[in-house]
Subunit: 225 residues, 2 copies
DNA sequence: GTTATTTTTTAGCTTTGTCTAAAATATTTT
DNA sequence: AAAATATTTTAGACAAAGCTAAAAAATAAC
C-alpha cells in the first residue's frame, strides 16, 4: 500500500480527474479528448502525459491511447471524493443550487488535507452520493457503481428510480424542480413518441406528463428491485 | 465603489495579506520584513511589489517603505474575512483543533466566490471573531478593532477578559485547555514575579495559578466594562 | 564627510504550464 | 499500396513566480 502522498499541482490533479472520467466511459483515452475536455491544446496535454507517466500515475507510450495506473486511479478517486463531498456540503448545508456548486467544488477539491476530508465526511453523515446522484468514493477509494441507464433507454412500463442527472446546468435544475423530479423519484415511461423521441412519464399520484428526448437522455435511472 | 473583482493569483493574495498584517503593526512596511514573513527572498518581493503597484493595490516607490492602497486594503480584508470564516467553520462545525485549522484555512481562503462566502457566513451565524478571538471583517470589509493588551502588560488587580491568542500552536492550545482558559474567560493578574516575569492569575471560583511570561505575552485581553 | 554596512533593486536563470507552428506518426480513403 | 487526412509529438516561446549574484541606493559609523 502506497501512502507516499506526493503533492500534486492543481494542473496535475485536473488532468488526472479528466482522464479518469474519460476512461470510465471508453476504457482508454486519447490526447485530443483530454485537450477538448480541459479546454487546452493537444501539445499541452502531451507535456502533462509525460509528467504523469514519470510520476507513475499513468500508463502511456507515445502515439498510443493511455489509461491511469492503479496508483493514478486511486489518486483520481481521492479528488472525485473531495469534489463530491464539497458539493454535498454546498447544497445540503449552505443551501446553494445544483448549478452553482460545481464550479466552486472545482476549487475546493484541490485542498487536500486528509484530516479535513475525514472530518467533513463525518460531519455530512457519510453521504453515499452527491447532490446530482453521483456516488462518492469512500476513504479507501471504493466507489459504488450502480448499473444505471438513461431514461431515454428505459423500456416502457418498467418501474425505475432516478439516480443521477447528466447535465448540471441551471436550466436543467429549474426544469427538474418544475416537474417535481429529483434524485430518488420513482417513475416509469408510459409511451414514447416516434416523432421527436419525447417520452410520457408517470409518477405515482401525479398526472401524466411529457418530457423531451434531451431531458430523458440526461436523466439516469436504476431498475426498481 | 470599485466592484472590478479582478482575479488575483494565490501568490498575490499571500503578499497582500502579509503586507496588510505587517502594516497594521508598523504603519509602513519594508521589503525585508515581507520576505521574512513569507519565507522568500527580497528580490522576489521586489518583483511582486511592482506587480501590485501596477494593479493599483499598493503605494510603492523604489527604495521606500510602502503600504496598501485603499483598494489593496479592502482586498486584503476580504482575504482575512475568508480565512477567519473558514477557521470558524473548521473549529465550530467540523470540531477540529486550533492548531490544525490555520494551515487548512490558508488554502481555503483562496477560493474566492462571493456567494459561497456569504452563504458560509450566514450558515455560521455571522460570527464576529474567529476561534482565536481575531475579529472577522464583514462583507463590506469593516473589521471591529477592539483595543487589546497583552496579559503581560495588564496591571495587577484589574479585571479583564481574554479576547485572543497570539501563538496558535498545538502546544499553546494544549496548555490553555489544561489551564481552563479560553476566549471570553475573565481573569485578573494578582501579582507578577520579578525573577522571570511569571504572573499569578485569578479566575473566579478557581484556585490561583501561575503562568510564564511567554504565555502571558501571547494572551491578549480587553479591560472589563 | 568619507567609509562601511545594510537594504533594495536589477539582471539573468529555473520551473511549471501554457501556446503556435512544424515535424512525425497513424489512420483512412481511394 | 500510395495518397490524403487526422492525430500526436517536438521544438521553441512566453508568462508567472521563484532563486542567486551583482549593482545601486540608503543608512549608519567613524
Amino acid at each position: 500500500m502506497t501512502l507516499s502522498t506526493i503533492t500534486l499541482s492543481k494542473a496535475e490533479e485536473d488532468y488526472l480527474k479528466s482522464i479518469f472520467r474519460l476512461q470510465q466511459e471508453t476504457g482508454q483515452v486519447n490526447t485530443n479528448a483530454v485537450a477538448q475536455d480541459l479546454k487546452t491544446k493537444p501539445a499541452s496535454v502531451t507535456d502533462m502525459l509525460k509528467k504523469l507517466k514519470a510520476k507513475k500515475l499513468l500508463n502511456y507510450e507515445p502515439y498510443q491511447e493511455f489509461k491511469l495506473s492503479a496508483e493514478g486511479k486511486k489518486t483520481a478517486l481521492g479528488i472525485v471524493r473531495r469534489h463530491r463531498l464539497w458539493e454535498y456540503f454546498l447544497v445540503e448545508k449552505l443551501g446553494m443550487g445544483w448549478d452553482e456548486v460545481h464550479d466552486i467544488a472545482e476549487h475546493l477539491e484541490h485542498v487536500s488535507n486528509q484530516r479535513l476530508i475525514e472530518k467533513l465526511d463525518a460531519y455530512l453523515g457519510y453521504p453515499e452520493t452527491d447532490p446530482h446522484g453521483d456516488p462518492i468514493p469512500d476513504a479507501q477509494g471504493r466507489m459504488k457503481v450502480q448499473p444505471r441507464i438513461s431514461l431515454d433507454d428505459l423500456p416502457p412500463n418498467t418501474g425505475a428510480t432516478v439516480c443521477s442527472v447528466g447535465n448540471q446546468s441551471s436550466g436543467m435544475l429549474e426544469m427538474l424542480s418544475h416537474l417535481n423530479i429529483r434524485i430518488g423519484t420513482r417513475l416509469e415511461v408510459k409511451r414514447r413518441f416516434e416523432f421527436d423521441g419525447s417520452a410520457e412519464i408517470k409518477i405515482r399520484n401525479k398526472p401524466l406528463f411529457v418530457i423531451s428526448r434531451v431531458m430523458a437522455q440526461n436523466l439516469f435511472v436504476t431498475y426498481d428491485q
